[in-house]
């Protein structure tokens, strides 16, 4: 019975991949997967062209695009310009999202507690261990804080959410920067690790006194008590789509090198400090220019018509000015063997 279902699944998978021969193929980050799947669904209805996106993780996406087995790769962490040039790749952002600190503390609901960057870093460094620590009390004089131990919950798998979060902590805490650093996975000084956004949200909800960080959509879905942050301008902000968009709008995309822009700790009165974009990777000289053109056409459609769907799923679409720059970059950088652009958006 079990064997039969395995064989059945294998045959099904083989059948799907055969049928998808003319479809767009992509692989990578898990964070934007729900959105890409929804876009693919709508695009297929409109044009008949499907998208076969495998959410195998950013690391896998980078490996696959370097090996040339897919038309595009997807990564939550932007590649540095020198790495892009070495691999002959270009990158561009698709949507923006944010990491949100969440907690489970008796008597403290959503948006009641506020923290600033250095305090958040001290908690995740394991230097603040009790909820009634003077540093937390000072920021929240009107909140009744118990003297429970703080249980730090972090991701155990590599993740774009972790990259955004640790990048922010590196910017606001010199100690975090030297001792831990920022990446999709780091050596955590304290706490317990849980797999995936769902793992972190479960562990926080199960454990009294816990604090963790999840992608915004998970905090909303699970109705978790999110923490307000004090941003670079010194203002208290609540996590929201508008606050993420403020971060995206503030970033200096025009002068960026290969769209290597990280949206953490951006200035602005309403800016959420722990925001980040998710990226697409494509070769400068695709082996199959026709497939690359089909993929770019899909992204053009997504920028033009996918914004509303993105907002429904709590992702934030890019400002139009950024989209224009991306489409200009395609024309200038992604070329066929004849030296002409494989695709022109306008």
């Amino acid at each position: 019975m079990f064997m039969k279902s395995i064989i059945g699944a294998a045959l099904l998978a083989a059948g799907v991949s055969m049928a998808a021969a003319t479809d767009i193929s992509g692989a990578g980050a898990t964070f934007p997967y729900p959105l890409y799947a929804k876009w693919a669904d709508l695009y297929k209805k409109e044009t008949g062209i499907g998208l076969n996106y495998q959410s195998i993780g950013s690391g896998g996406g980078i490996k696959q695009i370097k090996a040339g087995t897919v038309t595009f790769g997807a990564s939550d962490m932007p590649l540095e310009p020198k790495d892009l040039n070495a691999a002959g790749l270009v990158q561009f952002p698709t949507v923006v999202g944010g990491s949100v600190p969440v907690l489970n503390l008796d008597g403290v609901g959503a948006d009641q507690l506020k923290l600033d960057g250095p305090t958040l870093a001290s908690i995740f460094l394991g230097k603040i261990t009790k909820w009634d620590d003077p540093a937390i009390k000072k920021l929240n004089p009107d909140v009744k804080l118990p003297s429970d131990a703080i249980v730090v919950v972090h991701r155990s798998d590599g993740s774009g959410t972790t990259f955004i979060f640790t990048n922010y902590l590196s910017k606001v805490s010199p100690e975090w920067k030297t001792d831990v650093g920022s990446s999709t996975a780091v050596e955590w000084p304290t706490g317990i690790g849980a797999k995936g956004n769902e793992g972190v949200s479960n562990n926080v909800q199960q454990t009294k006194g816990a604090i963790g960080y999840v992608e915004y959509a998970y905090a909303l879905e699970n109705k978790m008590a999110s923490v307000d942050m004090i941003n670079k301008d010194g203002n208290r902000v609540k996590p929201s789509g508008a606050a993420f968009q403020a971060a995206a709008g503030r970033a200096d995309w025009a002068n960026s090198d290969h769209f290597y822009v990280i949206l953490t700790d951006q200035p602005g009165p309403d800016t959420w400090p722990i925001a980040g974009a998710t990226f697409i990777l494509m070769p400068k000289q695709p082996a199959d220019p026709a497939a690359a053109a089909t993929a770019l056409k899909f992204f053009t459609w997504a920028y033009a018509k996918g914004g509303q769907v993105a907002e429904q799923l709590d992702y934030v679409p890019l400002p139009q000015s950024v989209v224009d720059q991306i489409e200009k970059m395609w024309k200038a950088e992604i070329k066929g063997p004849d030296g002409k652009p494989v695709y022109s958006a306008s």
């Binding site: 690391g59 962490m77 590599g158 690790g193």
Partner: protein, 331 residues
């Protein structure tokens, strides 16, 4: 004469011919059968060799970079690309050891009860329950562990343990720290539950093979049930029981999903059993998908190779132990 004898000769000749042909056909089908089974057996060796080779090849980069220090360093830092396997190796061995320490006495105890003491109407239901326990997929244990078992431990058991052992010299460091709920001890307990049915059902099956005349003679000279079990049943079935234990240990060492859910996934060697830790398979399951960079991937494959070696050594030691025991028993 000639007219008669010729057809006779012909039938004799063709009969012989037919038999010869049949014999040749049998010989052919035999050799085909032999070849088929032989190549199936060879396939296993080729597969095993292929797995070992690809593990060695994949981990070469990590071992070249870190050398033997890979086994002894505790650092696991993807940012600076410094990796050491000490914490996962430690976690794997400790969780498996605790799990076996719980599962072996309990499992053998259940088997003794079922074969020696249990009223016959209860025997089948309990036996079936044990086998069902073995059939539960490990992910179910993981989910149950995270949602039911860990919160229960956190609220009702661990605070008591910390308070109880707080003033006892060695135990106070073994049971120290805030009660997270999940951690090394929780993972060990889940593993013990998962391993239990292996130990129990194999022990029960081999206990049933003890000739009744042996047991009856022992009872006849006035032995208690304990004496019969300890002096007759267990020595007679030693090899089978150890086989069951090794099968269970193999599962405990390699168990992935259930452990990943409840161990806490921290790359640290802590003295406290309540603290979070990690195991080799949990680390690989957690980090392989998002491992960016060749050295990171290679280090994870090196962990896989180490797990392979640990399992191999455990099985080899079990074999040697059995051989020694057989020699001692004069077999």
């Amino acid at each position: 004469m000639a007219e008669i004898s010729t057809p006779q000769l012909k039938t004799v000749d063709s009969g012989l011919h037919l038999r010869l042909r049949a014999a040749r056909r049998f010989a052919l089908s035999d050799s085909v059968f032999r070849l088929l089974t032989q190549s199936s057996a060879a396939f296993v060796l080729v597969m095993l060799g292929g797995v070992v080779l690809s593990l060695v090849y994949g981990s070469a980069l990590a071992f070249r970079k870190f050398g033997l220090a890979f086994f002894t360093t505790q650092i696991w830092n993807p940012v600076t690309e410094k990796f050491g396997a000490a914490a996962p190796i430690f976690g794997t061995l400790v969780t498996s050891a605790i799990a076996m320490a719980i599962a072996v006495p309990v499992g053998v105890g259940i088997a003794v009860f079922l074969t020696e003491l249990c009223p016959p109407p209860l025997r089948r239901p309990i036996g079936i329950a044990i086998e069902l326990l073995a059939g539960i997929p490990s992910i179910i244990y993981g989910i149950w562990g995270l949602f039911v078992f860990a919160p229960f431990l956190q609220e009702h058991v661990q605070p008591g343990m910390i308070a109880l052992f707080g003033s006892v010299p060695v135990l106070s460091s073994l049971f120290a720290g805030p009660p997270y709920g999940i951690g090394v001890l929780t993972a060990s307990l889940i593993l013990a539950i998962m391993v239990l049915p292996f130990v129990t059902s194999i022990s029960r099956d081999v206990f049933d093979t003890v000739p009744p005349v042996l047991k009856e003679s022992a009872y006849g000279i006035g032995c208690t049930t304990w004496e019969v079990v300890w002096n007759i049943v267990i020595p007679y079935t030693r090899a089978g029981v150890i086989g069951g234990i090794m099968l269970g240990l193999g599962r405990a060492l390699g168990e992935t999903m259930a452990v990943t859910f409840v161990i806490g996934n921290a790359h640290k060697i802590a003295s406290s059993l309540l603290a979070p830790g990690t195991t080799i398979s949990a680390t690989i399951a957690n980090e392989f998908t998002e491992a960016v960079g060749d050295l990171y991937t290679s280090s994870l494959i090196a962990l896989g190779l180490i797990l392979f070696m640990i399992t191999f050594v455990v099985l080899a030691v079990a074999r040697i132990m059995l051989m020694r025991l057989d020699v001692k028993a004069g077999r």
